[in-house]
């Protein structure tokens, strides 16, 4: 590493992994955390190494955020996003690591594509860990080569967007994944029940004349997957890891809670929009409120908040899903699912969880960095200890900013949060010792 060392001084360092929450200075050298010391203790370094100095006075320093669910659209849909643009949006949002889903064109179902996504030519501003397809072309029929994918850098397998419906193939996937040491990430939706649906089922969908996805269509798959996990444990003694992507309903969350109680290896994530918005927002047929899973009723939104507060939800992940304006401007039922999210996640978590529900800052960071790293076994990430990769976010939880979609680093502007005033502007993001975003 030829980067200059960086000395960050004067800030409040929060590291949920080590439990530190105190004023500390932190020295980054050769892409790693070189030292963490009491304020002023690293002053000697300045003359000796002439590091780049970052004044973090009144700011919070935390391990760089980790998004375990993004869509970077490359290869194949570069009019929506590229790895280059998507990772720049990530950096602006405080993320130093993103894990990208395999529903590209072609689907990332080989070691070659997995390696391709991480190649320097992709110009990723932050670290990209691919999540590879669980089945060939995500068709739900034949498993991909999990060991080869893992060796190429895949951190999990998933057919995101095309859930694995067959019991046998899902069971085979869980079994193969545990041998390879990977989690299976499931987009829980029984697509046999959701044909033609464009929002949450219920009174709002009825009033708007739109077909709705039921709570059951999500919960049924989560419940089925948990049953399969239990079967594998019983039959083989193996302990496969199921990670439920973007959970959105109280009923599915209850299934996860009881599975955890049984000691099964189940984790789940929630997207910020599922704890910030409800299906009432669909009222104007603006497709920037259309995603899958859909915005749910307030009882579900509240359950997501409670799940985050009581710890039954393990992580916040954005499901960043960029789409071009002309695609979103179609008739609501025809418009594609998904919204961007990398630049608003921290702000929304601070607004809804920290400010409204008094969640301590360290818990917020835990949900946005430490636990995501642990779910996907991203060694050394999600914490700030000496010797760990130098991934850092510096933000101001006491200040506010206004998110403007037109200023987004993402190639696409499909967000429902344009114009939202959010807490916690990001001042600086550092990925492996390099400043990848800075307004300092």
């Amino acid at each position: 590493m030829s980067e200059k060392p960086i000395l960050i001084r004067g800030g409040l360092l929060i590291d949920p992994a080590s439990g530190i929450e105190a004023n500390h200075d932190i020295l980054l050298r050769d892409g790693l955390v070189a030292a963490i010391e009491k304020p002023g203790a690293l002053t000697g370094v300045i003359q000796h190494e002439q590091p780049e100095l970052i004044d973090a006075c009144d700011l919070t320093i935390a391990p760089g955020l980790i998004d375990i669910h993004v869509h970077l659209r490359e290869p194949g849909q570069t009019h929506k996003e590229t790895i280059s643009t998507g990772t720049r949006a990530a950096a602006a949002g405080g993320y130093s690591t993103v894990c990208c889903m395999p529903n590209t064109a072609p689907v990332n179902d080989t070691a070659d594509w997995t390696a391709w996504m991480q190649a320097p030519e992709r110009d990723g501003a932050v670290r990209v860990h691919p999540i590879a397809a669980a089945t060939v072309s995500s068709m739900g029929e034949e498993l991909t080569d999990y060991a080869a994918l893992r060796d190429a850098g895949a951190v999990g397998v998933s057919d995101d967007g095309k859930p694995i419906l067959g019991d046998e193939i899902m069971k085979a996937a869980l079994y193969a994944a545990v041998s390879a040491g990977l989690p299976v990430i499931q987009h829980a939706e029984d697509t046999r029940l959701t044909g033609g649906c464009s929002m949450n089922a219920g009174p709002v969908a009825f009033r708007l004349g739109l077909r709705g996805m039921t709570v059951e269509s999500e919960a049924a798959i989560v419940e089925r997957d948990i049953r399969l996990l239990a079967e594998i444990e019983r039959e083989t003694g193996e302990h496969p890891h199921l990670h439920v992507a973007h959970i959105s309903t109280a009923r599915a969350l209850n299934a996860v809670k009881s599975a955890k109680k049984q000691g099964l290896n189940v984790t789940c994530e929630v997207a910020p929009h599922h704890f910030a918005l409800t299906d009432e927002s669909v009222g104007d047929y603006d497709a920037n409120y259309k995603m899958n899973p859909p915005l749910r009723a307030d009882v579900d939104r509240t359950a997501m908040i409670e799940g985050l507060l009581d710890g039954s939800i393990d992580a916040i992940a954005t499901d960043h899903a960029p789409h071009a304006e002309h695609e979103k401007e179609q008739e609501f039922e025809r418009a594609p699912n998904g919204i961007t999210g990398l630049e608003t996640a921290l702000g929304l978590a601070l607004k809804l969880l920290h400010r409204q529900h008094k969640m301590p800052l360290s818990r917020v960071i835990n949900l946005l960095s430490t636990q995501p790293a642990s779910i996907l076994n991203l060694a050394g990430r999600g914490g700030l200890v000496v010797g760990a990769p130098a991934n850092v976010v510096i933000f101001d939880p006491n200040a506010e900013w206004v998110f403007r979609s037109r200023r987004s680093r993402s190639k696409s502007k499909n967000t429902p949060f344009d114009g939202w005033r959010l807490p916690g502007p990001v001042h600086c993001t550092i990925c492996e010792g390099r400043v990848v975003y800075s307004v300092i």
Partner: protein
């Protein structure tokens, strides 16, 4: 400025025709106090105020205004009517087939002196893949001042109104809404003495439409509620005037949460019981294929929900029978009922032209000053 828009005063000077319920409140004093339960949709101000996108966003003063306009335009001489929108340009943009709605909008526009152009998905660049937005922008560039849109996707009119900034009249969007149909249904009810005894004129509407106009009136809507934009628009409109709307149908076509669409709406699955309380019974078209898809036995459906003469005579011998059309004789209702003395089906169609004239004048009337409180 079209005369019809501002002649409230003249209408109010007409000989007194208001007598029942002792109300003499006329005009503006009443307007302020007649706010019905309004379901607010956000950013309404991004739409041209002449748009008619949903009943949900109309308040009682909007409704009175439209019915009053309809009466006035209807009572004008042919010549005077033809001056109202002389030379104005409207476009009919139809993504679905239609007889009644299309023809009555077309006749309404022509009677007012406006020109109409019909663009349908079958014979236009829509077939080549042109988007709704681009189709709208093209019509605007060609000089259309107002677009009347029929579309199979719910919400398309709201989107088109945002894309073009033009007044857009919703002529039916998917299963969502059909506002002019609900308004013409209301006009038909009032004209038949539902909630009002006596002649109907502009002043009647002005003074009489209030949150109690249809109080204690039971409007039974029967059939495929799930897929019906007419059911939704009526269920959102009529309770603003105090009516009870009772949905009736099997669960597959009428989910329980349908009653939550708004205040004043309930469900009664027993058709005979619903009929016994009905002042109006509004039958909806049933598509055979849809029943088959839901595995509903056709004969069973007919036995439970068809409106025939025996059932009507036994349970609702005085109710007004309505149907938005097209009717399928022998399915949701029999010919005897459709052509019988209680039927207002043809009358509904006639009222449609007047309501659509009013919607057009409201959309294109242009310089009309907003009434305070009429629209935020």
């Amino acid at each position: 400025m079209p005369e019809s828009v501002t002649n409230t005063k003249r209408a109010a000077k007409a000989p007194g025709l208001l007598s029942n319920s002792g109300t003499t409140a006329i005009g503006k004093a009443n307007k302020k106090s007649t706010q019905g339960p309004v379901i607010t949709t956000k950013s309404t101000d991004t739409y041209h105020p002449g748009s008619l996108l949903s009943v949900a966003s109309l308040n009682l003063s909007d409704i009175s205004h439209i019915l009053q306009l309809a009466f006035e335009l209807d009572s004008f001489s042919v010549k005077r009517r033809s001056k109202q929108l002389e030379g104005r340009r409207t476009a009919l943009l139809f993504y679905e087939s239609s007889t009644r709605t299309r023809t009555s909008f077309e006749l309404a526009a022509k009677q007012l002196g406006a020109t109409t152009t019909l663009v349908s998905d079958k014979s236009s660049s829509i077939e080549k893949g042109e988007s709704l937005k681009d189709t709208g922008l093209t019509l605007r560039a060609l000089g259309a001042e107002c677009i009347i849109l029929r579309h199979p996707s719910s919400g398309a009119p709201a989107q088109l109104a945002r894309f073009t900034g033009l007044p857009v009249l919703n002529a039916g969007d998917g299963p969502h809404e059909h506002p002019t149909q609900a308004l013409l249904d209301l006009r038909t009810m009032l004209a038949n003495g539902i909630g009002y005894k006596g002649p109907v004129n502009a002043r009647t509407y002005e003074g009489h439409l209030n949150p109690t106009t249809l109080v204690k009136k039971n409007i039974v809507i029967v059939g495929d509620i799930l897929h019906s934009r007419v059911a939704r628009s009526n269920a959102l409109l009529l309770p603003k005037l105090g009516a009870n709307v009772i949905f009736c149908g099997p669960e597959e076509l009428l989910p329980d949460h349908a009653a939550q669409i708004g205040p004043g709406v309930s469900i009664e699955r027993d058709f005979n019981a619903a009929l016994r309380s009905a002042d109006v019974v509004m039958m909806l078209r049933i598509q055979k294929e849809r029943l088959a898809g839901l595995e509903i036995d056709l004969n069973e459906y007919i036995a439970d929900y068809q409106l025939n003469q025996t059932r009507l005579a036994a349970h609702a011998p005085k109710a007004l029978v309505m149907h938005p059309g097209p009717i399928i004789r022998g399915l949701e209702l029999t010919s005897e009922v459709a052509d019988g003395p209680q039927s207002a089906i043809e009358e509904q169609v006639r009222h449609g032209v007047a309501i659509r004239m009013a919607a057009l004048v409201r959309a294109l009337g242009g310089k009309k000053k907003k009434t305070k409180g009429e629209r935020k």
